[in-house]
Symmetry: C2
Subunit: 298 residues, 2 copies
């Protein structure tokens, strides 16, 4: 197969666009598409500081790298959760990645900063570990982004993530979630940083190829705690449909955003936010979930 | 497994309801559920005449039978499309079925009434045969229901059909279709008969079991023309989800109807209907699709 633009040897064939591209033209197309998403959804500007939580996987390294290559002011953070056989391995890759590409990186060690690692917390609590881990990471990322004065917090959510979530929300017709799912989540409190998903229209496959072509040595093992997640099933199902009808995922997400803007007004009755009695961060309860997890003020 | 109601040997386990039932209690539950659907959506009353197109498959025989057993005035019609190795075989089964249960039945022979069988029409036209067949059957059913003064035209659409259609419409976020998909389609013209789907909340499996337990000898082969239909893929995918999360299909459809009633007002800009110059039936064009298929007035 040959690149449709220059005729050189193609490295990828994008079935949904019936488009074969060489390395150079795939990379430039990828960056152009991400740039278009940033502009279209007014995610951030040239002068803005963009915070990125870098776990070391293909998505978070790619979002950091592509924003860096596009000339944005990227600041990275790696949250070391202390998961044996996973966190140290990932930290090492992220440090190498940041150094290689010249992306400023901070390491946040949960055990050192909060007194306990994730497995230690999990061992004394009944909550599902993945949901707790989500709470912890969201809290730390937001607070850190706020502290460094970031204008936006970018995540690596890709088209496969977004459509799997969308399918899940749609199967339940959960209006609350459907009204909110968007490439941009505007802050509902001065202590929340705007959240953006610059890779929302790029597939996992495009992202992995982009990372590989750019020489990113990303973490390819999944977290030992994340077995049999429901979202994986929906991804698998959407991939089955995609094979038969290329472009389904992209259309599903794009048309949804159109539909949402016309029919689903943002829910007005947002829960009232107050500030956590312990840490002062926004919460709907007296003591926020993060402080509760670490047994503070309860 | 034992019947949850009487402790007798169960004939079916309904995973989505965590409910095992014996023959008697499965049948009575099935009929009660269909009755609930008829009432909830105000499909028709005791005095109404309900027309049913009976193809001979499990769905159309079951809808005719359950309505008959519930005491409604059912009138059946079999449309003989003249498909070799299929139509005559099906007609025979439908005639036996109608006789066995005492359901009034008419036979409509396409070749005799309109001059050509479906394969004859298909051989001289480029259109997809399934879409043509749909046009022909919808036209004949509606016209016949109108002629016999039926108050409603019931079809055998089941939960698997409805959710497959819903998934297809949702993947495209096709608001026109989403706003219309409903167990009841009210007539938009005096020459249209109200269309109703009394089995919309029953799964294919429940319907097949109901038919078998009632001694219905239904047609179990599919039409030779209906290979690889897209709806089969969506059914298959939904079944995969259903296996993992029993009740998904029912919730998907039920919650959708709730969602629809709140967020999707029926499209006001319905195409203007006029009467076909040839046959006088409602159409958006000068000569209706049915007349065009049979080369009348064009």
């Amino acid at each position: 197969m040959k690149c449709r633009i220059c005729g050189a040897k193609a490295v990828i064939y994008l079935r949904q666009h019936n488009l074969a591209l060489c390395e150079e033209h795939f990379i430039s197309r990828f960056e152009r598409e991400v740039q278009k998403t940033i502009k279209k959804f007014r995610m951030f500007d040239r002068d803005d500081v963009v915070a990125v939580g870098i776990s070391g996987g293909k998505d978070s390294t790619t979002v950091a790298l592509v924003l860096h290559k596009l000339g944005y002011k990227v600041r990275g953070i790696f949250i070391d959760l202390g998961i044996p056989g996973y966190s140290a391995f990932s930290r090492n890759k992220v440090q190498n990645f940041a150094q290689k590409f010249g992306i400023p990186l901070e390491i946040y060690n949960l055990k050192e900063r909060e007194g306990e690692s994730l497995p230690e917390i999990a061992s004394r609590r009944k909550d599902r570990i993945c949901s707790m881990c989500g709470t912890i990471k969201r809290y730390i990322l937001n607070k850190w982004a706020l502290e460094i004065g970031a204008d936006a917090l970018a995540t690596g959510h890709n088209l496969d993530d977004e459509t799997a979530t969308l399918l899940s929300n749609t199967l339940r017709w959960d209006v609350g979630y459907l009204a909110k799912q968007h490439p941009v989540l505007l802050p509902t409190h001065p202590k929340f940083v705007k959240k953006v998903k610059p890779l929302a229209f790029m597939t996992e496959r495009e992202i992995a190829v982009y990372a590989i072509l750019n020489g990113v040595d990303f973490v390819n093992r999944s977290c030992p705690f994340s077995k049999g997640a429901k979202s994986l099933r929906y991804k698998h199902l959407l991939n089955e449909i995609e094979v038969q009808s290329p472009g389904t995922k992209l259309r599903f997400y794009r048309e949804f955003l159109e539909f949402q803007s016309k029919y689903l007004k943002p829910v007005e009755s947002e829960p009232q936010l107050k500030e956590c009695k312990v840490c002062g961060m926004p919460t709907t309860i007296d003591v926020c979930s993060f402080c509760r997890i670490f047994r503070r003020g309860v």
